[in-house]
């Protein structure tokens, strides 16, 4: 792929503008959060062209935004944020992605590294055994006929009613794990067929479970409110999404919207951006179906968290209460949401698309859990499996500048094929082991594709969001055990 050669104006050290004069049809400027150093990689591929293409979408306000983990996606860039007016704007399934409500949840524990490390092999084995993962794996949840519809409407609440987790988990899940306005009638039979056997599975690719250790605390008081009290404390990360149900739902509606665009006279530079007006039947049906898929994903992470808790308490030989194991928070990073934001000094309802971007609402925002009202919404930014992950909080600046959004991860720099050419899975495994990271993976090839060398350094990514002010670093963790599908 050729490098991108479009115009990019420096705003300040962390902000770069693509003027709307770049291409006729752009309705707003593009704005990219990045450091000078990161631009070298960003400019090697076509992700900034995708930022410009998103600016064509009807009803877009502010900027077509890109977070610093931006990389080349399909349609939207990964790390893209776009907000559309409800009155004349559109919703684009490609602006959410195929893995609807892919997200991260983090559990805290009462234990420290010295207590867990001696049992890390046993723990990763137990997690690998108890949480179905990898391609072709089947889930262990058996749904009654029609029960999938309950999952799609109730989300995490369904899981808790079935005994997977604790009622207070709902308070610390974005949307309470149950997005309102979800009607399973908008989800196709094919999507449900894919979703039924996959509920409670991790999947493959970049999805993972991680046993990590807090190794830096930048904001002591904020960390304490999240239950993070000390360096060395063990936390557990879960990263997965809506599995085949989400993939099918996205595909179904992209197909419908390609047809709808003709009907509504919308022309775009990339068919993957296919969209429909927010006030059209197609647009509303997609949002309804997307909410179902989002609820499925929350249920999925809720069930997995239950087995993670069980595994941890079994291996450590203590009750779940003794082990702590409270859910700090669960965030989604592939979603479209109707939210109130200020546009040109006026409050307005917008449809905010976050494609590989995390909501980052500030202290005092009505949509965040009461227990975090003082500190702001927790944000989790996982790095690659060999490096750090970060815990941040949302800020007022994010509300002003990025529709309450920040980055979601490290962002790839090497393609999977290139990683496989250059790295061997076994060597990657040995390298991780030599650095004290125990790994269980379904496939060695998959391990090479997900190696640290294939990703940007997540530290540089979160530093940009921190320095730009759209989220604030609270603590950092490093992995000691990783399960990959």
């Amino acid at each position: 792929m050729s490098p991108w050669t479009g115009p990019l104006e420096k705003v300040d050290d962390y902000r770069w503008r693509i003027p709307k004069s770049y291409k006729p049809g752009m309705r707003v400027d593009g704005l990219v959060f990045a450091s000078q150093g990161m631009l070298n990689d960003i400019l090697k591929e076509q992700s900034l062209e995708q930022v410009a293409n998103v600016a064509f979408l009807p009803g877009i306000v502010g900027y077509s935004l890109a977070m610093p983990d931006i990389h080349w996606g399909y349609g939207f860039p990964i790390g893209g944020v776009a907000a559309m007016r409800m009155s004349d704007g559109v919703v684009s399934p490609g602006g959410v992605g195929f893995d609807i409500n892919c997200g991260v949840r983090v559990l805290r524990t009462n234990l420290v590294e010295a207590e867990v490390r001696p049992k890390i092999r046993e723990l990763t084995d137990a997690l690998y055994r108890n949480v179905p993962s990898g391609l072709g794996s089947k889930g262990k949840i058996r749904l009654r006929h029609g029960e999938i519809d309950e999952v799609l409407t109730k989300g995490s609440r369904w899981a808790i009613e079935k005994g997977y987790g604790r009622p207070d988990d709902l308070e610390t899940t974005e949307e309470g794990g149950e997005m309102a306005g979800a009607d399973p009638a908008c989800v196709s039979r094919k999507a449900k067929e894919r979703g039924i056997p996959q509920l409670g599975t991790l999947g493959s690719g970049n999805h993972f479970l991680e046993v990590a250790v807090i190794d830096q605390i930048q904001e002591k008081a904020i960390a304490k409110d999240m239950g993070i009290d000390q360096i060395g404390q063990v936390v557990l990360l879960i990263h997965t999404g809506s599995r085949g149900l989400g993939h099918q739902t996205a595909g179904d509606y992209i197909e419908q919207m390609v047809a709808a665009m003709k009907k509504y006279n919308i022309e775009l530079p990339d068919r993957q951006l296919a969209c429909a007006p927010l006030d059209s039947r197609e647009g509303q049906d997609y949002l309804t179906a997307m909410r179902c898929a989002a609820n499925y994903a929350w249920t999925n992470r809720q069930c997995i968290a239950h087995w993670v808790r069980e595994s941890f308490s079994q291996v450590m030989g203590m009750s779940q209460e003794e082990a702590g194991l409270e859910l700090i928070y669960d965030v989604t990073h592939n979603i479209a949401k109707i939210e109130e934001h200020e546009v040109d000094g006026k409050k307005e309802m917008l449809c905010v698309h976050r494609k590989g971007a995390t909501r980052a609402f500030p202290a005092g925002h009505p949509d965040i859990p009461r227990k975090y009202a003082r500190i702001g919404q927790p944000v989790f930014i996982p790095g690659d499996m060999g490096r750090f992950s970060y815990i941040l909080v949302g800020t007022e600046q994010a509300m002003k500048e990025s529709f309450g959004s920040t980055c979601h991860g490290a962002g790839r720099v090497k393609s999977r094929a290139a990683a496989k050419r250059e790295l061997r899975g076994e060597a990657v495994r040995q390298d991780l082991e030599s650095r004290g990271i125990t790994i269980r993976a379904g496939s060695l090839k998959g391990l090479a594709e997900e190696a640290s060398q294939a990703y940007k350094d997540v530290g540089t990514v979160v530093n940009v969001t921190h320095n730009a002010g759209i989220s604030r670093i609270v603590a950092r963790s490093r992995p000691i055990g990783v399960i990959k599908g």
Binding site: G94, F98, G244, I254, V258, Q272, A274, S415, R416
Partner: protein, 136 residues
Amino acid sequence: MKRFQLIDHTADTGLIAYGSSLAEAFANAAYGLFSIITELNKVRGGESRPVAVSAEDAEGLLFNWLNHLIYIFDVEYLLFKRFDITEFTEHNLKATCWGETYNPSRHQLKLGVKSATYYMLKVDREKNQVQVIFDV
């Protein structure tokens, strides 16, 4: 004749498929898709499924065809390696697809494919060549 060639894409993976007809290019794109998922030389071809898809144009047909095969794999664990296309127009494709149910003792799954995407999707009617990027 080469059936397909992989294209490198940072986050995802894609392919260009060739044929002496557009129908053959579609069949080779499907073959390429399953080559991304598994080593096809280990897959036997004894089981079959009829497939029929339709769309408003050939681009939509390619998107729907590949996504329908991904759906069958996801639900039935069927790995396909032969695609006999019996009807092919700009709007309709009918085929019998041959393969084998995934058997962990004999097959290794290499990469999960979430979906075909429309991004950079191309159908070249003159060269009988198609291009598609997958979300993996």
